[in-house]
Point group: C2
Chain length 225, copies 2
DNA sequence: GTAGAGCGATGAAGATCCTGATCGTCGAAG
DNA sequence: CTTCGACGATCAGGATCTTCATCGCTCTAC
């Protein structure tokens, strides 16, 4: 897997290169937008990581340049916290994902895997859908009836679990172990409380109710018949 | 490495056995205190994991039985949340570490590694000390001037980093990456705030001040000359 | 049908952690 | 020596998550 990084700040660039190389990717690094564009369109990469703030060509110009030549090349945007609103712009222009600096390296690797696995042709599903509830795995976004719903990290993890295993009754212990890495059913009701919070955001005021309690067993997410 | 688990609850026992076996340990499982004691004293184990609540012999009786035969065998206590005060009793009776259920499996593995690495004979240091500040790696306890100091998870991780690298000036970026797994110096001051909280607990009201700021570089923990 | 136990739902409080703003201080340049 | 800018300290506010206590419902046993 060959990845191009376009990043002007030397420290961040070097760090990314080192980390990704150690993770087994082949990595090239471009220092500005011009080099970036040049390499991206000619270099046969599987993925491009793109800093929004760049000298020369900025991130968006670079992105549209890439899209003109290669509409399918996965592009991941790096944006700083105070440019968060720019991510919308990036996604509209055809970026496939974004990440806000600072971020955990593990997080970056996870996103990369998703993007690369989806691949150019294979088109594995990136959006899970149950009734009018949608979960966009790449953008980490949730929509219900077309409306955006903001979820916290745990809520998102919980919902993703539910949707990936739609229709299955998930015992609390399973939920605890996959969302919390807790594996002992002692006297905690974290799962219950988390499910309640998720319900408030995702089910409250909507029809049909998707998250259902199965007494003595656990919870399911599904469309009731 | 051979580990004995003494645990009566079948689900927890099975889970532990499976997880530890997958992690490469050889695992035996005893269902009650009598079997546990019998196996422990005769079975040539490197470590024993012990549930406090047991039918037959309880955890402490078992522990003192073990200690009579083998004073050095590492023992890790499992205690439920509402028995937390019992952990003191356990440690006084010669347990080497304790873990509160529910806990993350990764946490258990980390503790095991520490206990096993220390080994029976090798006696690697398990307490870090600078001036009158002590950090007990096994018990995850911190003492200053003999007084117990309660730290949160992040505070503990930060202090451990400082003490393991006593005297070294640690740049913020290094701290961020080891305590937070964040690797980008953007506009956050989490490190500063965390250092402040740690200082309040560890340095405030004591002499000498151990956590020092090195302008433009980062922080050090050391005894000033 | 009724009582009781167990299970889940709910609400509130508390702990921890992060963000953002402001204030103070150190050091260099003039 | 004074001024200014950069860096760090500090504080308040808020978000998230967990714990705990209580309430209500369901199911079962009698």
């Amino acid at each position: 897997m060959k990845i191009l990084i376009v990043e002007d700040e030397p420290k961040t660039g070097a760090y990314l290169r080192q980390g990704l190389t150690e993770a087994g990717y082949v990595v090239d690094l471009a220092r500005d937008g011009f080099d970036g564009l040049h390499l991206a369109v000619g270099g046969d990469y599987d993925l491009v990581i793109l800093d929004v703030m760049l000298p020369g060509l900025d991130g968006w110009q670079l992105l549209s340049g890439i899209r003109r030549k290669d509409p399918d090349l996965p592009v991941l945007f790096l944006t700083a916290r105070d440019q968060v609103d720019d991510r919308v712009k990036g996604l509209e222009l055809g970026a496939d994902d974004y990440l806000i600096k600072p971020f955990a390296f593990a997080e970056l690797l996870a996103r990369l895997r998703t993007l690369l696995r989806r691949g150019r042709a294979t088109n594995e599903p990136t959006v899970l859908r149950v009734a009018d509830l949608e979960l966009d795995l790449l953008r980490r976004r949730v929509l219900r009836g077309g409306r955006r719903i903001e979820l916290t990290a745990k809520e998102y993890a919980l919902l993703e679990l539910f949707m990936r295993r739609r229709g299955e009754v998930l015992p609390r212990s399973l939920i605890a172990s996959s969302v919390w890495d807790m594996n002992f059913d002692s006297d905690t009701n974290v799962v219950d409380v988390a499910v309640r919070r998720l319900r408030l955001k995702v089910d409250e005021g909507f029809e049909p109710r998707l998250i259902q309690t199965v007494r003595g067993m656990g919870y399911v997410l599904d469309e009731p018949e």
